[in-house]
């Protein structure tokens, strides 16, 4: 994390929530952040809830009973959706940060092209991937509900 070197972060939280007129990737950034925080919140509770298995079958059943049905099924699906997106977009970020899929440096000749043009197919690709994972998960959730 870089220090802001004395320049205040004037936009605060709004700066990372709003994408303004920036492109698709900027909205993916906001979504990556929200899904990351959502997964973290779930994960911290998940560590505590699933630790019940160390105390035997009754403790496990009681613990699972406390978090089953209704709103928890929806919550679980949202966690799965957050995973599908965060994992796919995370792979995109790692590729881009390592310098893959951003194109080669070119002369700045009008009309200018930015590396965003080169990156866009990757962004669309990971959205398709996340959609496929989500569809598989959605099918699985619905199949359980109808049992």
């Amino acid at each position: 994390m870089l220090d802001n070197k004395g320049h205040p972060n004037r936009l605060g939280v709004w700066g990372w929530l709003g994408g303004g007129t920036w492109g698709l990737e900027r909205y993916l950034y906001t979504l990556h952040r929200l899904t990351g925080l959502g997964l973290l919140l779930y994960f911290l509770l998940h560590i505590v809830v699933t630790s019940a298995r160390a105390f035997g079958p009754e403790a496990w059943a009681a613990s699972m009973g406390r978090v089953s049905g209704g709103v928890f099924v929806l919550g679980e699906f949202l966690v799965f959706a957050a995973f599908a997106f965060h994992a796919s977009n995370g792979v995109r970020l790692i590729l881009v940060e390592l310098g893959f899929a951003i194109g080669n440096p070119i002369e700045p000749i009008y009309p200018y092209r930015t590396s965003v043009h080169e990156q866009r197919p990757l962004a669309l690709g990971i959205l398709v991937l996340a959609g496929l994972v989500l569809a598989a998960g959605g099918y699985n959730f619905l199949a359980h509900l109808s049992h």
């Binding site: 605060g12 990372w16 298995r53 994992a87």
Partner: protein, 124 residues
């Protein structure tokens, strides 16, 4: 320098999570499609399935690896987000302490649970 190193670990942890959380999600939430590691008709969270996995050393190890990687990745990510809002130096130090102590505490607790569940499962 220190932050660059921690960020590198953050990204590497992301890759480790990708592998082990991918497996975990496949087992728990794509069970009807793939049916991995769930005996018979049991649901992935039924006690028989939990015990079946807990008996395998592979799962004890992979849970502890996933626990450590996800705690570091998630809490370091949270630290980045909070530091970006430009808190005072004292607040930053306090956050470092809280996140480190909280993370290590949860790691020890979660690793203990994974280990104890393995011992319990093998004794049944």
């Amino acid at each position: 320098m220190r932050d660059q190193r921690l960020w590198t670990w953050h990204v590497l942890a992301g890759l480790v999570i990708l592998v082990f959380l991918g497996l975990h999600m496949t087992i728990m939430h794509l069970d009807i499609i793939f049916g991995f590691f769930n005996p018979g008709d049991a649901k992935p969270i039924d006690w028989v399935s939990v015990v079946g996995r807990a008996r395998m050393g592979f799962f004890t190890v992979s849970y502890v690896v996933l626990l450590g990687a996800a705690l570091f990745h998630g809490l370091y990510g949270l630290r980045n987000i909070l530091f970006e809002l430009g808190p005072a130096r004292g607040v930053k130090s306090a956050l470092n302490v809280v996140l480190t102590v909280g993370g290590v505490g949860l790691f020890v607790f979660g690793a203990w649970a994974a280990w104890t569940a393995g011992v319990l499962a093998r004794s049944l």
